[in-house]
């Protein structure tokens, strides 16, 4: 049986890698659409034809697209992300200075959002149909139906403008104490938590309700087990697979949220780096950021798949 699980895991991994390859093709070809010649942009109007031709050769721009694609992919694999067109810095350095900020934001958000949504999702499922459940459901649907920037602006309006508790913007230069740090991260983390938790609560609630409706949960109820016992001993262990799966999938919503939240709060993370790169059409930077985001996203989705497989007792050896 262990081999079946192993084969399935290897299969998931292979699918993940194949997807990543297709993503690389899409990212590369989308940036090929760019009108205008990169070299002429780089050298400006005064460039001589010789200089243009020379730089073109140096940048391998005269090679056919598939050759350039392979070059680019090989460079990525070896950690050579190229140079930014805009300020000529190595893309790897730009990303290295921003990535930890984004990871910290995502990490803190996950650490708050996961327990919170587990609690709200499970309690809402157990108290299905009560006013509590309906309130949670309506709130989550409301958050999901509106754009992330609205959730974030409303959070700022509420916590910073009306209550005056927190500063509206993030600046990382004056972090001296833990109190400072909490104030810097508070608004971005609160906004992101709203966005991500809504998805998680919905999925958790659905997963728990499904197991509570199953024949064995009903059996447990009929034989007189206490409600707490039915939920904790009978329903939850079986709902664990779907729940963890839901967590990993929802965390991939972090990505969309991060792009908006970093922009609103002026947070120096990699998502804002990418949005700025799109605005200035800095291709190497866009490509690298897009690949990093996709890798992160695919890892989360793959994790969700693997957990779902592992949680299936039929596949456990």
């Amino acid at each position: 049986m262990r081999t079946v699980l192993f084969q399935l895991l290897v299969g998931r991994l292979a699918i993940g890698l194949a997807t990543l390859f297709i993503v690389a093709i899409v990212v590369f070809s989308a940036t090929m659409l760019l009108p205008g010649d990169v070299v002429e942009v780089l050298l400006g109007q005064a460039a001589t034809p010789e200089a243009i031709a020379g730089l073109r050769t140096a940048m391998h721009l005269d090679d056919p697209a598939p050759v350039r694609f392979v070059h680019w992919l090989m460079g990525l694999l070896q950690g050579d992300l190229g140079q930014s067109y805009v300020n000529n810095l190595p893309v790897a350095d730009l990303i290295a200075s921003r990535l930890p900020n984004t990871l910290r934001l995502a990490g803190v958000t996950a650490a708050i959002a996961i327990p919170l949504s587990l609690f709200l999702g499970i309690t809402a499922a157990v108290m299905r149909g009560t006013p509590y459940d309906r309130t949670v459901s309506i709130l989550t649907v409301a958050v999901i139906s509106v754009p992330e920037f609205m959730t974030a602006t409303l959070a700022v309006l509420f916590f910073s403008v009306w209550l005056g508790w927190l500063p509206a913007l993030s600046h990382l230069n004056h972090v001296d104490s833990i109190g400072d740090m909490m104030r810097v991260y508070a608004m971005p983390v609160i906004s992101l938590t709203f966005v991500v938790s809504a998805q998680m609560i919905r999925m958790t609630r659905a997963g728990v309700i499904e197991t509570l409706d199953s024949p064995y949960a009903e059996m447990a109820r009929l034989k007189g087990a206490s409600p707490a016992r039915v939920v904790l001993r009978h329903a939850l262990p079986n709902a664990l697979g779907p729940i963890v799966n839901a967590m990993a999938l929802s965390l991939s919503y972090l990505l969309g949220g991060v792009i908006i939240v970093e922009t609103i709060f002026n947070y120096p993370g990699i998502a804002r780096l990418m949005v700025d790169a799109v605005a200035t059409r800095d291709l190497p930077l866009i490509q690298s950021c897009a690949m990093i985001f996709c890798v992160g996203y695919l890892i989360l989705v793959m994790l969700a798949d693997i957990v779902a497989l592992m949680a299936n007792p039929k596949l456990r050896g």
């Binding site: 899409v26 990212v27 760019l34 649907v141 509106v146 754009p147 991939s252 949005v275 799109v278 695919l298």
Partner: protein, 271 residues
């Protein structure tokens, strides 16, 4: 309506949708001030009798700008969702009817496309193609075609296994006939609800793009762009920031509650 009892929430949703549709069509007749005109020296002004939704960061009338923004947001989103659903349903029915290699290749391809996070896809595509309105429509349609394809295909595969389709096939009917007369009528209800949900996703993505400054470009402004240009008024709680967001929310929530409360017969996805 249509022989079904329409529940109250659906009715409210429909009324809001109809109102926005009227606004989108008749906006130039409804606006009290021209959208580009600076009507007040007071920037981020509060709501008054004269300016119902206050004034924006240049002192323009927010109410007029939101009414005109409805055209841009709803127009682009409707065009994109129509393209996406027509392409997705067409290819989905084709895949279900043809089966075999065509089906599995197309499905794999769309699976790979849909594994790219939407916002990221949009950012990369905008970086490559720019943000002219036809380009935005094409990008949004491309991003939401895979989902529509997968949805329509799974419905069509079920219908394809029905006896009457097999009989029609044996009669020697053409692919076009099978798709139009046998499959499409049977998947139309769920496909229309999917159209509505996809419309919401597209409105949200378009607004987010415009909010990032990468969607609709000035002088045109959709609701996302209105929030962006007035974000400076956030510390003062200016209506110019809040009301365009509320406009988006009213539209998306109206679509959602209309669909959620539709009679099961129309909306049932396992049809």
């Amino acid at each position: 309506m249509f022989g079904f009892r329409v529940p109250l929430p659906s009715l409210i949703g429909l009324v809001v949708l109809l109102a926005w549709a009227v606004v989108a069509i008749a906006a130039p007749l409804l606006v009290p001030y021209s959208v580009g005109e600076i009507v007040d020296f007071d920037i981020f002004g509060p709501a008054t009798d004269q300016f119902w939704f206050g004034t924006d960061y240049l002192g323009r009338d927010v109410f007029s700008r939101i009414l005109m923004g409805a055209r841009v947001t709803i127009g682009i989103s409707l065009a994109a969702v129509t393209l996406a659903v027509v392409a997705g349903v067409g290819l989905g029915m084709l895949a279900a009817l043809l089966g075999g290699k065509f089906d599995s290749l197309l499905s794999r391809f769309f699976d790979a496309l849909s594994s790219i996070p939407n916002k990221l896809f949009a950012l990369v595509a905008v970086a490559g193609g720019g943000s002219s309105i036809p380009m935005l429509i094409a990008i949004l349609a491309l991003i939401y075609t895979p989902g529509s394809y997968r949805f329509a295909r799974s419905l069509a595969v079920n219908i394809n296994a029905m006896d009457y389709v097999i009989v029609a096939r044996l009669r020697g009917e053409s692919f076009f006939y099978l798709a139009r007369a046998e499959i499409l009528p049977n998947i139309l209800g769920p496909v229309l609800t999917d159209f509505g949900l996809r419309f919401v996703f597209i409105v949200l993505l378009l607004s987010s793009l415009s909010f990032l400054g990468l969607g609709v470009q000035p002088p045109l402004a959709d609701w996302g762009a209105l929030v962006r240009e007035n974000i400076g008024g956030l510390p003062f709680g200016a209506p110019a920031v809040i009301l365009p967001s509320l406009a988006i929310a009213s539209l998306t929530i109206a679509v959602n509650i209309t669909i959620d409360n539709l009679p099961r017969k129309i909306r049932d996805r396992s049809a």
